[in-house]
Amino acid sequence: MSSAAAEDVAGTPATPSGPRRRKSVTGTRRTAAALFLLPALVLLGALVVYPIGYSLIRSFLSQSGDSFAGVDNYRALFTDDGIRTALKNNIIWVVFAPTVSTALGLIFAVLTERVRWGTAFKLVVFMPMAISMLAAGIIFRLVYDQDPDKGVANAVWVGVHDSFAESSAFPKAHPGRRSPLRSDQGGFVTAGTVHTGRTVALPLVGVAPDRMPKGAEPAARAQPQPGKVTGTAWQDFTRGKGVGKLGAVDPSEQGYAGMRIEAVKDGKVVASTKAAADGTFTLPAAADGARLRLPASNFREPYNGVDWLGPALVTPAVIGSYVWMWAGFAMVLIAAGLAGVPRELLEAARVDGANEWQVFRRVTVPLLAPVLAVVTVTLMINVLKIFDLVFIIPPGSSQDDANVLALELYRKGFSEDQPGIASAIAVFLLLLVIPVMLFNIRRLRREVRR
C-alpha cells in the first residue's frame, strides 16, 4: 500500500516532465543520482551481492578452497544421506508449517471478531511472537520432555492414557537365579505341575520394598492343605543381603499382595486367585496337575507416554512449536485484512439466506484470498530458512532425523569443515527461495497496478 503510494508520488511528476528532463540529462544529474545511490549500492554490494557471489564461487571449490572441484559439491548434495533427509524434511516443513499456521490464523481471526474479549485473546495468541526462536526452542524442549513429571505434552498424554488402562503393581518383577518359573507370554509359568496337598513357591525378584503395593506384609510360608493347592508368591530378595536363602522365605522378605495367579491346564485357565497380603494363596482341587501362571497383567509396565522427540515424531513436534509461534502472526495479518472486508457483502449474503458456514466459505475466504496468499508465501520463505528450532529442540540422537537444509549447512560448514558443500547448500537454498520471491514480487506489482 505505502509503496504503491510512493510510486505514485514519484511517478506523477515524472510523466509530464519526462521529455524535458531527458534533455537536461547532460551528466550533472546522473552523477548526482549516482552519488545519492552510492551508499545504498555499497552496502547492498558488500552485504548481499558479494557474499552471494563468493558463496557461488566457493561452492565450486574443494574442501580446502584452493582447487577447482567442478560439480562435486553439488553431486554430494544429492547423494549424501544427511542432505537427502534434510531435503525431505524441508519439503514437509514447507508444505505443512505455513498452511497449518495460516489455517489456524484464519480461524482465530474470524472467531476473535465475534467475541467480546477478542483483543485480549489476540494479544495472548500473538504473544509467542515476542519470544525469540531460541527461547521458544528451549521451552518446547521441556514441553516435549519424555518424563511425564517434566514434559507437559507427555503429562497430558499419560494422564489420559492411565485413566483408561492402569499400570500394574509389579512392572519389573522377574525370576531370580534358579527360579522354578519360566517366562511365558509376558508373564511367568511354573516349569512343573502342581498338586493338591503340597505347597508351591513362586519366588520373584526386582521389586523394591518401598515400591510394594500398600498392605504388603512379610511373606509367610504356606501350609499344605488336603484337597487344595497352596503356596506363596513373594519378593525373594533381602535388602542389603541379596537373595538371602534362595527360593525360601526369609523373615524380612515381603509377599506380593494382590498378585494374580492362574492354574493352567492344556492352555485353559481352570482356576485363579489372588495372593493375600503375606503372599500366600490357595487354589481349589481343580488346579491339581496344572501349571501355575502369573499372567502378564501383573507385570504391565507403567505407560511412558509418546516419544515426541524420537525419530518418528520429531519433525511434526518441531513444526508444532513453529505453529505455536507463527499462528499469531498469521492471525494479526488476516484480522487486518478482515477489517477491510466490506460488511455489506456479508450482510447481503446473510439476508439472502446463507448460513454462517456458507458466508465464511463463499464470501469471507474469497475476499481474504490475497491476504491469505501473502501470509502463506511470507511464511514459506520463513520456513525455508528454519534453523533455530531444529537446532535446539531435538536431542542429539534424533537431530539427524529432524535435519533441515539450513541446519545441514551449518553442520557442514562449521563442525565438519566442509565449506564447499556448505556453500553448495546455500546456493541451492537460494534457488529454492527465488521462485517464491518472484511470485511475491509479481503479486506486489499486480497490486500496485490495481
Binding site: 519424555q146 511412558n304 540422537s397
Partner: protein, 469 residues
Amino acid sequence: MHSTLRMRKSPKQPTHSTRRAALTAAAAFLAGALALTGCGGGNDKSSDDKPSADGKESGSTVTLPELKGQSLEVAAVWTGGEQKNFKQVLAEFGKRTGAKVTFVPAQDPIINFLGSKIAGGQPPDVALLPQPGAIKQAVDKKWAKPLGPEAQAELSKNYSQGWQDLGKVGGKQYAAYYKAANKSLIWYNAKVFENAGAQEPKRWEELMTAAQAVYDSGVTPFSVGGADGWTLTDWFENVYLSQAGPDKYDQLAQHTIKWTDPSVKEALTTLAQIWGRKDFVAGGANGALQTEFPASVTQAFTGGDQPKAGMVFEGDFAQVNIAETKAKIGTDAKVFPFPAVGGQAPVVSGGDAAVVLKDSEAAQALVTFLASPDAATIQAKLGGYLSPNKSVALSAYPNDVQRKMAEALVSAGDNFRFDMSDQAPQAFGGTPGKGEWKDLQDFLKNPKDVAGTQAKLEKDAAAAYGSGS
C-alpha cells in the same frame, strides 16, 4: 504530614539494611579471599626468603625469570569454578614473576576461536587446547611455537613418556598437558549398592553380577546419557582398550585397522550385554537416547532409595553434575575404576594442553610454570581438577574420591590412552547426529545388529579420515 513523613522514611530503611547486608557480605568475601590467597602469599615469600608455614608447598620447584611489566594473555574454554581456580594459578605466576596475566575466555571449538584471533592479528600468548588433533592443526597452520628448553626439562622431569608424546607433533614438543580427565570411572549410588548387597567390581563379569544384584533389588542398574553421542563413544573406548589392548586401540584410532575388525565386533558384543538388556538401562534404549549427559548423572543420585538408576559411567567431570543433587560425593556417590574386560583395566583420558602461540620469554615461562608441580598443586587443592603431572603429591587432592581418580590416572603410566573420538576427525568423532556418535546411538537402539553397526562405522570412518587428512 505524618503519613508522608513515614512514607518517605520507609523506603529508606530497606536500602540501608541492604547496604549493610552487602557490606557484611563483602567483608565475608574478603575474609574468604584472604584465607584462600593466604597459602599463595606464603608461597610467594618462601621463594625469596624464609620457608612458609604451609609445609607441603614450601619452596618452589621451578625457577622462573623476572618478568616485571610484561603482560600475557591465556585463552581457554573453561568457565565457572574451573576458570576461577585457574585464575588463582595465573595469579601465583604473576606474583612470582611480576608479569600481568589475563585470562581470555574462548568458545568451543577453540581452534576456530583462535583462528579468528590470529586472523585479527591479536593471538593470545598461550592457549589451552583440548584435543591432540587441535594441537596438530595449530602446528600445521604454523600457529604453535615449539617449547623452549626450560619447559622441556620440566616436562621430562614430571611427566610420563605417554603424556609427553601426546604434546609432540613430528617429534617436536609443542604442548604441555596441564589438566587431565579420567574417563574410566563408574559412579554409583552407595545406598543402592548397599541395599542390593553389591560389591565394587574389579572385572567385567563382576560388574555384570553387581548389575544383576542391583536389578534384582528393584533398581535399574545403569543410566546412559545416549542423547549425547560422546558418552557412548567413551563406553566403547573403555571396553575396547581393555579388551583389545593399547596397540589395537592406537591402530583403530589411526584407522589403520578397519572398524570391521573382529576386535570391534567383540567389543560391541560385550557392550551389548548391558546395552542390549532393556531392563539394565534406565528408560530402556529409547529413554536413554533422550537423556542428556547431565540428566543421566543426576537421575542416578536423586530419588532416595529409588533412583532411576544405580550406576552411571563417565569421567571425573561427572562430579560437577552430582554436586547439583543432594548426594554427597564420597558418601552417597562413590566411584570405582572401569572394570577390566580383558587383561588390564582401561584408563581412557582426556586433557588440556598449553601451547605457545606468541613466542616470548614470558609465554615460555608460563608454560614452564604450568608444567611444574607447583601450578598443578595449587589447582589440585581447590578441587575438581586432575593433573597428569606425576610429581604432584596425592595428598594435594582435597578428598578421597579425587585422590582415587588421580591415582588411577598416574599409576596407568604409559598404558593410558587418549580419548579415541577426540583423536578422530571431527566429522567422525565429534559431530552430533553424525559419524561414530550417531552409529553408536543406532547401536544402542538396536544392539543385535553388530555387523551392521560395524559396516556403518567403517563407512563413516573411511569418509571422514579420507577427506579430513
